[in-house]
């Protein structure tokens, strides 16, 4: 029988993820994912059918790898000029549990600094974590930006 995932285990994974993203350790971040995982940054609030809507990002495994390759390529001037980020993920609430998976809702407060401007970016984050033979993996991450329906300027890093 699979051992259930505790909130503490899931929180540790999300903190590890936040640390990797802030330090742009993107290859290590890719390894946190189950290959069938979906990374979504929706535009409209309350959408459920992401596939049939326009999003800021709707990434399967292949697209995540392409995105990381781009961010690391040194060919993208927006990625080169990307803001530095420092984020906190907290206010964890368990929203669902299955034998080998747990759903977490959390708050993400990211502060970015770029060209003399410091800007806070707030989001609710829905995450699903799965226990696998290779440890805990992310299988779903949906980032609900507070300002998603307004003008959202370039994000040269990963949310």
């Amino acid at each position: 029988m699979t051992q259930k995932i505790t909130l503490e285990e899931a929180a540790a994974l999300l903190w590890q993820e936040a640390d990797l993203l802030d330090h742009r350790e993107y290859d290590a971040w890719l390894n946190l994912w189950s290959d069938d995982g979906i990374y979504v940054v929706p535009i409209e609030k309350g959408v459920e059918d992401f596939a049939n809507r326009l999003n800021y990002a709707y990434d399967d495994g292949e697209m995540r790898r392409m995105r990381v390759a781009r961010l690391k390529s040194s060919y993208s001037m927006s990625a080169i000029a990307a803001a530095d980020t420092i984020r906190t993920v907290s206010r964890f609430v368990v929203t669902g549990e299955r034998s080998n998976e747990i759903d977490i809702r959390a708050a993400q407060i990211l502060v970015e600094y770029r060209r003399d401007k410091t800007r806070p970016i707030a989001a609710n984050v829905d995450v699903t974590v799965r226990r696998t033979e290779n440890g805990l993996k992310l299988v779903k991450k949906v980032i609900w930006l507070a300002h998603s329906e307004e003008a959202v300027s370039g994000v040269g890093y990963l949310l």
């Binding site: 800021y56 993208s76 959202v152």
Partner: protein, 424 residues
């Protein structure tokens, strides 16, 4: 210190700031010029406000701007589309703050003055407080002149402006070609990416027909494509061209074989659309599959409609000046209205791949534009060069200006119109 040219020119001599092959740096950062542009360009010409699919039913509305002025685009119960200034006639409060929706009319939330969909006044609370000559007919919402072409709705403050048909002129056949990406279905809009960049609106206006930047700015996008698609987007060595279409409009043909999406239906299906074609084959005939798949990638050209709309591959690009140094851009995704879900899904993924804050293309464009604005602070008396491909000016078919795909013909077309309007 050298005296800046802008200090020497009067309003009537703004034309000195635009020469045949260059424009003056002050066009990007002079606040006085920006104010004049809002009056003489956005206050006088046809400005794109919406696509008809955004307001398909009676009562449907979207809020937008014409120049700096907030406006409402609304379809009335008889089906006529109106564009009203979003301002109560009483004390100026906006009468609608929703981005879109359906409404029987608009009620000012401050004192309750109410208006019908066509802008006429319905009534005011406690009317006996006004004098006996108070006439509701004097207090309708201010409405603009509205005309549309091929689903594109335009509005103008100028009752003397030529008809929309005349204004669009030689751009119309290109609009017709662009709409073929419906693949046999009506063109619909399906969401948008909206962002702002700290730069002047004309920096983005220039970009729509600027192929010269593509392989440099978008190298990381090109590297993310399969070999066949990368070849398709390596169009600088191809037979494309840029043509001045008059009235500030221009077209840049990047991929000549994708100008008419109803031609070459027998051509092999590109690698990146094979999976889609297989999925569609279960429900559609071979001919339908070929027509839909060919349309999914969008048209092989960018059409720039002066001053604020671009029809670009598979999306509408709308610019809104916010201030002399800030511009808002919307990239509206185009789908096939009632078309196969799989084809529309593919279009949304293609849009996300290039556009938006996390796209592989738009952030790099925005970074380039921001750097233009920052750089323009150096050398206030210097010029912005638009001299690429001037040997094509007057040498195109019928004596029009037409250069190779990397020529700056489109920018010269836009600035020629800018000069005409600003000195009129």
């Amino acid at each position: 210190m050298q005296e800046a040219l802008i200090d020497k020119v009067s309003d009537s001599d703004l034309g000195a700031l635009v020469k045949e092959d260059r424009v003056h740096t002050s066009l990007y950062n002079d606040e006085h010029i920006f104010k004049l542009e809002m009056e003489k360009i956005f206050g006088r010409t046809w400005v794109w406000v919406a696509h008809e699919s955004e307001v398909p039913n009676p009562g449907d509305f979207v809020t937008t701007h014409v120049g700096l002025q907030p406006a409402i685009v609304v379809r009335d119960k008889r089906g006529t589309v109106h564009v009203h200034l979003n301002r109560c006639r009483h004390r100026a409060a906006t009468v609608c703050e929703a981005r879109k929706g359906n409404a029987k009319g608009f009620v000012c939330p401050y004192h309750g003055w109410s208006y019908a969909q066509d802008g006429s006044m319905l009534g005011v609370p406690l009317p006996k407080g006004y004098s006996s000559d108070f006439d509701k007919a004097d207090y309708a919402l201010v409405s603009l002149r509205v005309e549309s072409y091929a689903g594109l709705i335009f509005a103008t403050f100028n009752d003397e402006a030529p008809s929309l048909d005349e204004f669009l002129g030689r751009a119309k056949p290109w609009i017709d070609l662009f709409m073929k990406q419906g693949g046999g279905y009506p063109v619909g809009t399906s969401g948008e990416h909206k962002f702002r960049f700290p730069g002047n609106w004309k920096i983005q206006l220039e970009n729509t027909t600027d192929a010269y930047h593509f392989p440099i700015v978008h190298k990381s996008f090109l590297n993310s494509l399969d070999a066949q698609a990368e070849e398709l987007f390596s169009f600088l060595d191809g037979d494309g061209f840029v043509e001045d279409l008059g009235n500030g409009h221009s077209v840049m043909v990047m991929i000549p074989e994708l100008v008419d999406l109803e031609e070459n239906l027998d051509a092999p299906i590109p690698e990146r659309f094979k999976e889609l074609a297989e999925e569609l084959a279960a429900d559609y005939s071979d001919e339908e599959v070929r027509r839909i798949v060919r349309a999914v990638g969008g048209s092989g050209f960018n059409l720039n409609l002066f001053p604020n709309l671009a029809c670009s591959m598979a999306f509408f690009r709308v610019l809104r000046p916010v201030s002399v140094e800030e511009t808002e851009i919307r990239h509206i995704a185009i789908t096939m209205d009632g078309g196969p879900e799989a084809a529309n899904r593919k279009r949304l993924r293609l849009h996300e791949h290039f556009q938006g804050p996390m796209g592989f293309g738009s952030p790099d464009d925005a970074e380039a534009w921001e750097r233009v604005q920052r750089g323009s602070k150096a050398g206030p008396d210097m010029w912005i060069m638009l001299n690429r491909g001037t040997d094509g000016d007057g040498n195109g078919p019928g004596g029009v200006n037409r250069g190779d795909v990397s020529a700056e013909t489109g920018m010269r077309a836009a600035y020629d119109m800018w000069k005409r309007m600003m000195t009129a």
